[in-house]
């Protein structure tokens, strides 16, 4: 995919407010991930950070369809999905810095952030582990007779885990209201998908399960939105799951500290960077007279403010007490054993 093939925005029938919200959400993700780089470099953040930079269109395009009653499960590269679902950036940043006011009181960290109140069932540190959990949530929705939908985000590498096969098979067999979104950025850490998979078009696997599968440009937020919307309608109608493969590329390495260069072709990275989802969307909004440069600048400023505030909030939040390490194992304050 080397060329930008965008349809005119008008053809999508989305109003300005929603379009600008999408732009805003993508900016928030980008700014948040840059802020992560900053706090990490300053030695404030421990562990690993997996940046979503370059893939923002997928999170935003998919999550624009998620309502407050739906669920989503994400990956170790989960900040984007969390932000796009409206998670509280303050609590996210505090969690990532291991502070008391973080979403998980410092117990989960970047890879395990959850906001149960918003149906954000969380990021996950094991590749492919979120897929069966999402499928179970979809089963639960159908069991309880609601029209909730569950989105399962995972990467190209996860599609080779057994959980992918087992979960989608059951979802297909029982027509569960699930939307499986594969973020194909072509690499599992340093291993090129094309070298370790017989058919690198993940969407083709859908045929094997008897469900629709579609492969799209993951850097076109409107395309992502459109295809996901169709999948949601299917799911809510009880027609079963859909597999959506979004082709994209991460601008940075696998995690902070990985240059991401020795295993990738320089030219390939350059080409993808030219198709930066935020940059291209901004151009479209401006060129097609949806928004003015000033309006867009305002949004950019607001995004930066929110993220800056989140960093301040997090830095001011205290560390949890060591005694807390032994709490929250079981529900109902019980003895450790």
């Amino acid at each position: 995919m080397n060329k930008n093939v965008f349809k005119p925005i008008k053809t999508y029938g989305i109003n300005k407010e929603h379009l600008l919200k999408m732009y805003f959400d993508m900016l928030k993700i980008r700014d948040f991930e840059n802020a992560i780089t900053d706090v990490y470099s300053r030695g404030l953040m421990n562990g690993l950070a997996h940046l979503y930079i370059g893939e923002e269109a997928i999170a935003v395009g998919v999550c624009a369809n998620i309502t407050s009653k739906d669920y989503a499960l994400s990956t170790h590269r989960g900040h984007g999905h969390l932000v796009a679902q409206g998670a509280d950036l303050n609590k996210m940043m505090a969690e990532v810095l291991g502070r008391k006011d973080g979403y998980c009181k410092g117990k989960g960290g970047s890879m395990h952030i959850m906001d149960a109140s918003k149906g954000i069932l969380g990021a996950n540190g094991i590749v492919g582990a979120g897929i069966p959990i999402a499928t179970g949530a979809a089963f639960s929705a159908k069991y309880r007779g609601t029209d909730q939908v569950v989105v399962s985000f995972f990467g190209d590498a996860a599609s080779n885990q057994g959980t992918f096969h087992e979960s989608i098979n059951m979802a297909a067999a029982w027509k569960l209201p699930a939307v499986y979104v594969c973020e194909n950025n072509l690499f599992g850490i340093s291993v090129d998908l094309r070298k370790i998979t017989g058919n690198p078009n993940i969407a083709d696997r859908a045929v094997g399960y008897g469900i629709p599968g579609v492969s799209i440009d993951g850097n076109d937020v409107l395309e992502v939105y459109r295809v996901t919307k169709e999948a949601f309608i299917r799911a809510r109608k009880g027609e079963g799951p859909t597999l959506i493969e979004c082709k994209t590329y991460r601008h940075k390495g696998h995690h902070i500290g990985d240059p991401g260069k020795i295993y990738r072709l320089k030219q390939e990275l350059e080409d993808w960077k030219k198709r930066d989802p935020i940059k291209t969307f901004k151009e479209r909004l401006f060129k097609e007279n949806i928004a003015t440069k000033e309006e867009l600048k305002e949004i950019e400023k607001e995004s930066r403010q929110i993220v800056k505030h989140a960093v301040q909030f997090a830095e001011n939040s205290p560390y949890p007490d060591p005694e807390e390490a032994l709490e929250d194992l079981f529900f109902e304050l019980e003895e450790r054993k």
Binding site: R42, G43, G47, L48, D258, I262, A325
Partner: protein, 400 residues
Amino acid sequence: MAKYIIMPKLGFNMKTGVVAGWLKQEGDSVAEQEVILEVETDKTVMEVEAQASGILRKILIPEGEEVPVTLPIGIIADEKEDISQLIEEAYQKLGKKTPEPLTAEKPLSSAKEVTPDITHPERSKRISPRARRKAKELGVDLELVPAGSPDGKIAEKDVIAYHQEHKTAPKVAEGDRKIPYTGMRKIIGDRLSKSKFTAPHLYFTLSIDMTQAMALLKKQNQGRDQRISINDFLIFTTAKVLTEQPAINCSLLDEAIVYHQAVHIGIAVALEEGLIVPVLKQAHQKSLVQVARETKALIRSARERSLIPEDYQGGTFTISNLGMYGIEHFTAIINPPEAAILAVGAIKKMPVVSEEGQITLRSIMQVTLSVDHRLIDGAIASAFLRQLKDHLEFPGSGLF
């Protein structure tokens, strides 16, 4: 608005980084997110982007230098801004060279604290924790408790049984004199206790007619400087008999029974502070006169407290004589690691019925042999005593 460029922490193990190269010079303008330098870690070379827009006013750390993470390496500011304060602070921080630790290290352990409530010296016996606990509770000295099972283990019930036996401790009343049980008395006392409670003692008593021996000695002592006593004669004779009864002249050492070639007789001497047993070495090779002379010297040394360890170690058999106190009969405690001890009583004139049915007065002396039944049994003990009796009742010629 001035801002430091810092050496970024790019990996959770990264402690320092090297400035691989500045891509901008002092005075150049930089934009946010623009790559302005490259940093080398032990794994790779990373690009570093500016976190602010402005002029690169100062490069604090040149190419090739290594710096700890999070420390300032450059300053971005407006063109005319005064950054002298920032520079000074930066150099101070760099002078320190060690970034502050992030969180206070508070070790958290979910392990339970184990506080033992009894301290135990090294022991060779097998004593169960339950037994130790009971012993502490009852105030029983575990050294004194015998094992209740053949495998030598001391169990709680053994402690309880021992305690029952020795429960009545006399109370200290007004006017009682109390001295600590320590020193030589304690050492000797503990040794005797150990002997008594470890070795199963077996006792054999025999009456010996010393009339003939006494007459002989009386005659010999006339005109001698070195007087020879009954005890000397006894020691001399016993040594000779022991060479013919090796089964008595043995010791239990390191799980083995050692049958000694030589006979070293211990002679029990009572001192105020306790019993001491100097040893007459090579007793079997000495003449009666020698025995008398050396025994006298040993006893004098003992009384003068001038014995050296060599003098009271290495005995193979002990003789304890309370005859001078008029004691007719007593049983002695074996002197470990020896196998037997002979307790000698006073010589008394007793009526004796002879073979022919006549009553005569004879000088009779009772001796009691204590043997360690682990090493010596009845038949051997009896044979020894019989032979001793023969030799004492019918002293041979050629003694002098």
